[in-house]
Amino acid sequence: MPGPAVAQASAGKPLAAEAKGALLSPNEAEISAILALPPKQRVTRMLAMSPEKIETFRQNLKGPQRAQLVDKMTPGEREVIADLENPTKAVIDELKEQRLMRDVYSPAQLQEVMTDFWLNHFNVFLHKDEETPYYLVSFERDVIRPRALGKFEDLLVATAQSPAMLLYLDNASSMGPDSIAAEKGKERAQKQNKPVPPPGLNENYARELMELHTLGVDDGHTQRDVTEMARVFTGWTVDQPAHGGGFLFDERKHEPGAKKLLGTKVKDGGLNEGLEMLHLLAMRPGTAQFLSRKLAIRFVSDDPPQSLVNRMAKSYLNSGGDISSVLETMFRSPEFWQREVYRAKVKTPLEYVVSAVRASNAEMDSLTPLSNELDRMGMPLYSCIPPTGYSWDAKGWVNTGALVNRMNFALNLTANRVPGIHTVWPADAGNGELGLEVVDPSNQMDAAADELRLENRLMQSEVSDQTRKTLLEQVESQSETQTGAAKAVGASAQAINAVVQTTGKQKPSSPSTALASREKQDALLAGLLIGSPEFQRR
């Protein structure tokens, strides 16, 4: 009778759990004692706890105690507590923030654009496993950014040996079927009478290396090439990922023997086999074409002219795969400057959000809201799951939900409803370039002037006459609503209006109100401009 026996066992479980809990977790009195300490000492006590104890301490805190724990702490102390509670989150948040910070503020924009391009090209998914967030920091900082404008082969080798990529595309766990490690495994399994483990070749990296990183899908390589490539890269692994180790070539996992692939023969050479193949791939004309086309799609149009791609590919091969040379060739090509490709690209969500913040000259205390916005727009940072990376094609980014999000972001940003981000719109409320002149907000002439000023500030080129007309009509209807509201306020307001009207030159009695409504008008104008079709393109 399994029933009663099980019931007994499960009845026994809570006792065991309680006993275990008591051993690890601070009791009520201990929690109260810690909470009663001054902020600095609370931090010290928390720092002295083991990770397990911090975990149970957190769990045992009841509602208001959570607030008490960080009460009166400095922002720095609060951050220490937050980091202790969830170190991975701290790493992820900072990774995303530094990225947005550079995208918005960096004076070296091409460097950032190319870092973004290669991070997407060599996509690694943030949540692949527990170690990935930590390895991604180094992947971006040490692998991608320093090589973003250098030789492609250097970049390719660095990514191939990066723990982030080795884990993401599973090469770290790939094992040669006839390797020493596999043979040992088989012996052990036989001794213990266990079923023989699978040979352990993982083709994931080998396939994506060719299809996504270098040659593209259409270069005519076969499944046999993929399998042979996987054999070449056996043994390329990570030294103790749980301890943050680096690249390791594990000879014992490496498949012995020569390999035949892509029309050539690689002789038995351990680590060098992989390096040889990366060199061969980096220098193939197919790679030159594939990368040139992708760059042209990024910079020029969704369907770039073949003549441009050819010129870039030639430059790639002539320069030994020098990324800067290829870009220079592109920038100097007549196709790059043709009218048809002017503003032919729709901004990706990242480009949209960053360009909106840059154009607004916004002050930022926190970048998390921007990162959340990208989640909403379907382009969460570092979180593209498939190894393809995000699409550079316009169509994918323009759809119903996307436009709703973009328009609302524009309105929220300009009206300062995005927490931690501050924008200033009227010229006279900012650096005072137009002095402190107070303008009647219902004056159409001023609204038109404001629109032009904001247009110059925000847009790369003029908006259409229709867009401008609509913007002004919008401002007009808003000020009518305001006038209507003012009338309803009562006799005193009317009296003031009358005084203003008769005296003519006299300023409104409440300049701050006028300024506020002008600010509101300008914020709305700015929001409509940033949400307009014109601003969606680059």
Binding site: D129, V346, S464, L528, R537
Partner: protein
């Protein structure tokens, strides 16, 4: 600009939903034309249990001796399960499922899963959502390909008439399942799907944006703008803030419950929803998952009550709905050292629907004896998850081109389990 049939249809339908005095049947009649004839207004709901749910404690094989031997402290006692057929029983927290099963609407496939042996959440979810186990290069999701296949079946004029709500995902991000060529809309919260603020009428900013996009000569953005404002208006006309579920439909006050409620709300509003997706997390029970009560039980209560409230809420329309649930893999047959279970292999799938031949447990049961287990540790897969999905899509959305939807596997109707 041409006044196409599509534009006419859409704008007239829109004009009607915008006008409260028009009887509902008229709006419905207009929309009836815009759904695929073959599908006849049938709808598919897909629910992903992220984190690998413990199938063996969800649909309990209480007659398996080894079940109790392998799970001394977390097994569900035989006298506590909701007996289905003398061999399997539902976890008691799934009480809300019992009537659906008894009424013959709920079918259960207890040893379903992927042929790929990966135990990585990431890879397994990726494979299940793309519908191509073992192949990471697949860019689109199986549900998006299902809709692509529908359009390819010569129903081109219908393809143009779909609304922005044809494929919806409740949540801030579009799931991989719905990624692809067919436009799908992710909605975090129905009430926030607006431009410039909530309310019964268009916000001034919405009016301004609409006229800017209307006048834009940028074809791509002009068209996108058109469908956007249409969708916003359609949704507003359903007064989402005032939604009241049908009598007796009590949704759990959880993110999942709220998601299911919003799916019902969107479907009942005749917005042209053909398929909806949502997910529910918290299944990765490595520690203290509990037995009759505990973490897993709480999840199951939320899960089953959300689904049964949805079913009740849909009323007569539920007849045309098929709902299918999945999770990336199951968990170890044996409990681990911390009162939980680790990553395993096969898992249970539920299929609920008006045309589902439910009230039955489907597929071959592989057994829990050591030699019957996958790699001596997990429940073996006897039904490929794509088989279940293929049956759901062909029975609901009329899909025939199964090689396109699930490339790399020969799925034939003759080998279907007979779920629908």
């Amino acid at each position: 600009m041409n006044l196409t049939r599509r534009i006419f249809l859409r704008s007239s339908a829109l004009a009607m939903v915008g006008c409260a005095a028009v009887p509902a049947f008229l709006t419905r009649a207009l929309f009836a034309e815009s759904v695929n004839a073959k599908a006849q207004g049938k709808r598919l709901v897909v629910i992903f249990q992220r984190g690998a749910a413990d199938g063996l404690n969800i649909v309990v094989p209480f007659k398996e001796k080894n079940y109790y031997a392998m799970r001394p402290s977390i097994a569900i006692p035989q006298d506590q399960v909701l007996d289905l057929d003398g061999f399997f029983g539902l976890h008691p927290a799934l009480a809300a499922f019992e009537p659906l099963y008894r009424q013959g609407h709920l079918a259960i496939v207890p040893a379903a899963g992927s042929p790929d042996n990966t135990r990585s959440h990431f890879d397994a979810q990726d494979y299940m959502e793309s519908g191509t186990p073992g192949n990471k290069g697949t860019v689109d999701g199986w549900l998006n390909r299902t809709l692509q296949a529908e359009d390819m079946r010569g129903a081109n004029q219908h393809a143009l008439e779909h609304t922005a709500f044809r494929a919806i995902a409740l949540g801030s991000q579009l799931p991989r399942t719905l990624a692809g060529k067919i436009e799908a809309t992710a909605i975090g919260n129905v009430q926030d799907f607006n431009v410039g603020g909530r309310g019964d009428v268009s916000a001034p900013a919405e009016v301004a944006f609409q006229s800017i996009y209307d006048a834009s000569s940028d074809a791509l953005l002009h068209t996108a703008g058109e469908s956007t404002f249409e969708a916003v208006k359609m949704l507003r006309a359903t007064t989402p803030a005032k939604y009241t579920p049908a009598a007796g439909a009590v949704y759990p006050t959880t993110p999942f419950g709220s998601g299911m409620k919003q799916i019902a709300q969107l479907m009942k509003a005749n917005l042209g929803v053909e398929t909806a997706f949502t997910d529910i997390g918290g299944w990765d029970t490595h520690h203290n998952q509990g037995s009759v009560n505990g973490d897993l039980a709480n999840r199951l209560k939320d899960f089953s009550e959300g689904i049964s409230a949805f079913w009740r809420d849909m009323g007569d329309d539920a007849e045309k709905i098929t709902l299918v649930t999945m999770s990336e893999f199951g968990r170890t047959a044996e409990q681990n050292g911390t009162g939980g279970t680790d990553h395993g292999h096969a898992n249970v799938m539920f299929v609920l629907g008006g045309e589902v031949k439910g009230g039955k447990v489907f597929g071959k049961w592989p057994g829990l004896a050591r030699e019957q287990l996958n790699e001596s540790r997990d429940l073996a897969v006897t039904t490929d998850f794509r088989q279940v999905l293929a049956e759901a899509v062909s029975g609901t959305l009329g899909a025939t081109n199964l090689e396109f939807i699930f490339p790399g596997i020969q799925l034939r109707k003759e080998s279907f389990l007979g779920l629908i």
